[in-house]
């Protein structure tokens, strides 16, 4: 039996299929988000099942996460992306204590306890600065591919300020905490793992490292961690070990 995790994000839909018992990833895929979220997710899901030689009857449970999680009609359960990213990252980086997730339209900081459970979290969804959508707009304006933004930035000799806001996060609660004089180690436990689609943009990990003054590890397969976490949590509902 398999379980599925669907991360219906604001910019893309990601799906991960895992074996329920072993939690081994069978396959995964991503597609662009659109108006008909449910239909797009369903099409991607069917395609994944077919390419893996599986049928709907093989799927024990489906968990949806992400901004559009409630639009996925064929999901058995919904779980927030905060919980899913925590589980997904911890699977890929077992000693992770802090997760920074920057997705299409928001950013989150998630603190974990030693057992990998969410201790607390902060979200910035008031400003799109530093999010995937922001980089898409910048890349389009510059006439380059989003993946080459990092290389382009590295060549800069005189960085031009584009606004009075922070480069990485604007108005985030994280920066708010730092500004209030709290020690970094009180806010962020090490190691810090960077995840979400924006973690794939080259140079962003360097910018984060510089902003936080701490080492930042980019999660393996950062775009898929939410879907992976959702799949694991779906599997846990069948075999809870």
């Amino acid at each position: 039996m398999i379980c599925a995790g669907i991360d219906a994000g604001s910019r893309t839909i990601k799906i991960v299929l895992i074996e329920t018992d072993t939690r081994r990833v069978i396959t995964k895929a991503v597609t662009d988000q659109g108006v008909e979220q449910d239909k797009l997710a369903s099409q991607l899901f069917q395609r994944l099942l077919k390419s893996s030689g599986l049928g709907r009857q093989d799927v024990g449970r489906i968990a949806a996460t992400g901004y559009g999680r409630n639009a996925i009609s064929f999901a058995d359960t919904t779980i927030t992306e905060i919980t899913c990213h925590a589980v997904g990252v911890r699977r890929l980086v077992p000693n992770a204590m802090t997760v920074i997730d920057i997705g299409g339209e928001d950013s989150k900081l998630i603190r974990l306890d030693k057992a990998g459970r969410v201790r607390d979290f902060a979200m910035n969804d008031r400003c799109a600065a530093g999010t995937g959508r922001f980089f898409e707009v910048i890349a389009r304006r510059l006439g380059v591919n989003i993946s080459s933004l990092g290389q382009l930035a590295a060549k800069s000799r005189r960085p031009a300020p584009i606004s009075s806001m922070c480069v990485v996060f604007a108005e985030t609660e994280i920066i708010g905490l730092l500004a209030c004089g709290a020690a970094r180690e009180d806010i962020i436990d090490l190691p810090i793992v960077f995840t979400g689609g924006v973690a794939m943009v080259s140079g962003m990990d360097t910018a984060l490292r510089s902003a936080l003054g701490q080492a930042v590890t980019v999660s393996p397969d950062p775009q898929m961690t939410g879907a992976l976490g959702a799949a694991i949590l779906a599997a846990k509902q069948i075999t809870p070990y």
Binding site: Y67, I79, T80, E81, I82, T83, D106, A115, R117, V118, R119, D120, F121, M123, D125, E173, G176, L177, C180
Partner: protein
Amino acid sequence: MPRQITLQEWDQRYEQLRKAGPHQPDYNGPLGRHVEDGDTRLLKLRYDNSAAALRLWNFLLTEEERLHRSRAEGKKLVGTMKDLGTVPVMAYSLDNIAAFYPDGAWWIPCVMESNTVLLRIADRLGIDESFCPVRAMLGAFLTGGHFPIPDLLICSVGATCDDFSAIAQRLNGLGYAILWWEIPHRRRPEPDEVEVKLPGGFQAPRCQVEFVKSELQRLKTALEELAGQRLDEKKLSAGIKKANMVRTLLAELRKLVFTAKLSPLPALEMLIAEMLAIHFCSDQNETIIVLKDLLEEVKARIKAGIGFLSPDVARIFWVNPVADLQVMNLLEDCGGRICGTEYLFTHALDTIPQDLPPTEALAQMALADPMAGSSIDRAGRICTDIRTFGAEALVISRIPGASHCALEGQVIGEIVQDKLDIPVVELEVPPFTDSMRPTLRTRLEALVETVRVRREK
């Protein structure tokens, strides 16, 4: 069975109740009629289905009519601004005065979606959206379309919200005379000062209590002049006793609702009920009846072992009142229930000492106001109440523009996490949250998920 129903369902249920039920108070009626008055936001809420809850809502939504009737009957009206629970106790000690809370006008745009005119008036007066939603009060004064203009306006200043002081000063500048009284910032006594132990577990130096007493004496004189009768110690003691009846009922209601195995009353009705402690909804006697009804309903539900949520919902402590009432419904949609609250007037829920001279007792209560002390004091009381009610997580709701909320949330959150190690989330709740509902939902759901995962320890 207890459940939450829509306004339309309430109107059907009202007809059943009316035909089968006992005598209804004169302000009762189908809730839907308030929508016809313009309270369109009510259509978006879900309500407890008990007759006691219906009475609570009707009592709240007919306050303006009650005030107009009081005036017509020859009663003097006193607007008690900013003060959360001291001056109304004094005013209601006189039988020909009705006091009310003009600050309550901040709810008007919250329930009357189309009524943004009050906020536009405030904008024009330079009190824009960077101020607390209480600014709607300015519009209510200028239009005169809501509450009658009071015969006497009393407003506390000093250790209260900066933004509210600015709003009240603007009102004063428009020609509305205000009798100001000062609440000093509560501090711990110096070693050479006499300490007074205040209700709520706080301390203050005797000189601060004496100062507040002198301020209350000024107010007493003004109230006597307005009423044309003495406010002697006997009357004041009787007024305190009656206010304590309200507080005792609320304390019992809070304890039962927050600690019951199954939630017997929704968060929304509890918010409305708790607010009665500070303003009595312009009728202290009726407040007591309304609360008794609610308490009886809650006791009956607990005795029958019934509630409206499943027993495993996350137990949430909530700090600061919300500007959009829908958010209280949302908490329950997300799998949470209210188990403890701190809506900035905890002191008005504690009983006023009856073994002290009445002015001394009221001065001590005024100084026990959470807004008069430090954020650390406030957080300390919140920690105590979280332990008492067994809450598993904390929500700190920020009111845009409210100076206390902006500054205190982080301090409270850090202290609660440090002392109790429970998850904390801060939410900003403006008067209209419709467009930000998905993000509020995500935060609340994530908090509930965090609580559930922690239970697996």
